[in-house]
């Protein structure tokens, strides 16, 4: 994983709301307590993550003046440490593309079936 050296919020202060982040952390059933200094650390990490993801997505995108959903999905689907986001950020495809994929699957399925018959 590589991180860009560029801007990244330089200030020491965190900007995401403490109480909200704590609520999210505590929504995990296994978590009992969170120490005083781990909360701002998680917040800072999340801020870094937001900026890291945005920069990576901007780089994979062809447009120099916009950031689109599909740029983000592309990064999430191809980066090792982002597997945890794969289900919530699928690549978007058109209905036509979807039909083609399904058609291909049906054909592959038939091939496997006929192969199975030949083997037995």
């Amino acid at each position: 994983m590589t991180m860009n050296k560029s801007p990244i919020n330089k200030s020491k202060e965190t900007v995401l709301p403490l109480s909200r982040v704590r609520t999210i952390m505590k929504s995990s059933p296994d978590v009992e307590n969170i120490s005083q200094d781990s909360l701002p650390l998680v917040i800072r990490a999340t801020e870094l993550f937001i900026q890291h993801l945005s920069q990576m997505a901007y780089k994979v995108g062809k447009s120099k003046d916009s950031l689109e959903y599909n740029n983000l999905a592309e990064v999430v689907q191809t980066t090792d440490n982002m597997t945890f986001l794969r289900e919530i950020m699928p690549r978007k495809i058109t209905v036509k593309e979807f039909r083609e994929i399904m058609k291909r699957k049906v054909i592959e399925g038939n091939e496997i079936k006929t192969q199975g018959k030949l083997d037995s």
């Binding site: 650390l41 993550f49 999430v76």
Partner: protein
Amino acid sequence: MAEKLEDLNLPNTIVTRLIKDALPDNVNVSKEARMAVAKAASVFVLYLTNSSNVVAMAANRKTINANDVLQGLKEADFVDFIPPLQEALEGFKKSQREKKDASAKKKKDKDGKPEEMEVEENEAAENSETEN
């Protein structure tokens, strides 16, 4: 505790500001992209929390501490975040100390009067944490 589902979302305005800070000026971020990043950030919080909690539990501790979070990031393969976070951690500790010193001084000045701090979200959050 989270009562409504919206309580688990991060504020869109702040997330948008963070995105814009990271990109060159005049880059247009689509609404769908902004919402996706905000959602991803919420999931990241949970993911990092769980990863850190595994570290704490392995050490037989019930409280997630700062080192658990750093270790959790390592486990999650976000090692590049660790140096800037270590630096930030020093900053938090320092500002906490300063706050403490300032309030101690205030107390001294007031001489015995019960200490009244301005109720910032920071303060309130820190206090509620030590209770549970």
